[in-house]
């Protein structure tokens, strides 16, 4: 296998981008990535998108976007694993470059979610759960994570305030990220007094509905060295599945797919949890960040809530988690999220993260998750 580097990243401001179409959001972002890499032609591309069909009524977007990026006839594929689509796009691009099939590959993720009503968006997101045995009974995504939250609180004594602190921390980081949808701070009180969505989760426990895209350019490390680019290598990649229905899991508080994907990524990169300097995780709801850092072995089982309370995961803590602001503050255009996580890690490793820069990180990890944990993709990155 060839070593693979990320040589270009591109992201524009996320939010409710009513004036921009799906294709234009994508092209603006992809052009930034091409410019950052210093290339104008690619050999192949991947697009992570959960549900362009339900959100904008457009399928077949891989070719549409290749066309508008001026790259036809390059092969272009859309990949889907719900909210982990972007992470999976990265994995496929990584495999394509590592295998020698292609040299320069564009990996992107996109979702345009505000062209539909709130009900339609709720429906589209709900299709990531088991429609016949979960959705049929009126459960929503906040509802599924609320089931996990209540079970975690009961089993480990995780508190309502600890959940709120995840959102507070991520907004604090997001306030330093000019591309974030909500770049401002919030308080524990504001979380605890926000509208109840699905007990015990309130609206400020939930990631928002967002329009946005993210793109990165991959190439072999050898080629990147010749181009004299700052090199961030992808040294570990793991992908795992689980039942998409939450009730089928042995332990509702434990995200096994994240554990499995993490295990594979750690083994490939020959790293341990204590080697990770910075971590971007899939905090679609506050409880998710707590469960994920446990499943990745960053903290002990049941200690995720305590970790945020003790500020272990804050920007100045032992292991900063979601320096970008996470899904909570940066926004969550579902298909784009996994790629945006990579961009944050690359910026941090290059030392280009501005006011939220962590001091000299060497190894970063990104964890991207679909549904209530039915799929997870984990990648490890290292600065050369």
């Amino acid at each position: 296998m060839r070593e693979v580097a990320v040589i270009g990243v591109g992201m524009t401001k996320w939010g409710e981008l009513w004036e921009k179409s799906l294709r234009n959001i994508f092209v603006e972002t992809a052009l930034l990535a091409l410019d950052d890499a210093g290339v104008d032609k690619i050999d192949s591309m991947y697009v992570g998108s959960m549900s362009s069909g339900l959100f904008v009524g457009q399928e077949h977007i891989a070719s549409l976007l290749a066309d508008y990026l001026g790259q036809v006839p390059v092969p272009s594929a859309r990949v889907e694993t719900a909210c982990a689509s972007g992470g999976l796009a990265l994995r496929l691009g990584f495999m394509e470059v590592a295998s020698g099939m292609s040299d320069v590959v564009l990996v992107s993720g996109i979702e345009k979610m505000t062209d539909v009503s709130g009900y339609e968006a709720t429906y589209a997101l709900g299709t990531a759960a088991d429609q016949e045995y979960e959705g049929y009974h009126g459960i929503t995504f906040p509802g599924l994570y609320a089931l996990m939250a209540r079970a975690h609180m009961e089993k480990y004594g995780t508190t309502r305030e600890q959940l709120a602190l995840v959102a507070v921390k991520n907004h604090l980081n997001g306030s330093k990220n000019p591309l974030a949808q909500y770049p401002f701070e919030i308080t524990v009180d504001s979380v605890l007094n926000s509208v109840m969505v699905a007990d015990p989760l309130r609206v400020l426990d939930c990631s928002p509905i967002t329009d946005g895209a993210a793109a990165v350019i991959l190439c072999p490390v050898e080629m990147a060295r010749k181009m004299k680019k700052p090199i961030v290598k992808i040294t570990g990649s793991g992908h795992a599945t689980d039942s998409i229905s939450l009730s089928s899991r042995k332990d509702i508080t434990w995200i096994e797919a994240t554990y499995q994907a993490g295990k594979r990524a750690y083994a490939m990169a020959n790293k341990k949890p204590e080697d990770i300097d910075i971590l971007e995780v899939h905090d679609c709801f506050t409880i998710a960040e707590i469960c994920v850092i446990e499943a990745l072995g960053i903290v002990e089982k049941g200690k995720g809530g305590k970790a945020v309370e003790d500020e272990v995961t804050y920007l100045e803590g032992k292991i900063p988690v979601n320096t970008s602001g996470g899904l909570k503050a940066k926004g969550h255009p579902v298909g784009a999220t996994g790629v945006a996580q990579v961009i944050e890690i690359v910026k941090q490793l290059r030392g280009e993260a501005g006011k939220r820069q962590v001091k000299n990180p060497k190894v970063g990890m990104a964890q991207n998750m679909g549904g209530s944990g039915g799929s997870t993709v984990v990648h490890i990155f290292e600065k050369e």
């Binding site: 045995y133 929503t140 969505v197």
Partner: protein
């Protein structure tokens, strides 16, 4: 709108709780499967789910999907039945404040929602505290 076929073919599970049990390892699949997720065996015998169980976790949905708007707020939980199978469903005929993890419930046959003006009425199982 979907045709009624999708609802119709799920009637054996929704109305009669039909499941299957692996002849090798005893794993009960609901809905029935063609290969056991635990031991990959392909031989099963038909069985019916237990009709009682206990609440493993629950929530109260305050922001519902469109077809549940007239029911909100409503409680949804994951219940572990006496045969070990875990199911997601609404918990009804209860005060939300009194719901507890570990509480005993039984399964009852109820209307779940109606699928629009010309649509069919969709029935299935719900949980009722004992």
């Amino acid at each position: 709108m979907s045709t009624p076929s999708r609802f119709w073919r799920e009637i054996p599970q929704r109305y009669r709780l039909e499941a299957n049990k692996c002849k090798r390892c005893g794993y009960i699949s609901f809905p029935p499967r063609l290969i056991c997720p635990q031991c990959q065996n392909r031989e099963f015998k038909e069985t019916k789910l237990a009709d009682k169980g206990k609440i493993l976790t629950f929530t109260v949905i305050r922001v519902p999907p469109q077809q549940f708007v007239d029911q909100a707020p409503y409680a949804v939980g994951i219940v572990e039945l006496d045969d070990g199978v875990k199911l997601t469903g609404q918990i009804v005929d209860c005060d939300f404040e009194n719901l507890k993890i570990g509480q005993k419930v039984k399964i009852e046959f109820r209307k779940i929602f109606d699928a629009g003006e010309a649509g069919i009425l969709c029935y299935g199982y719900k949980f009722v505290p004992e």
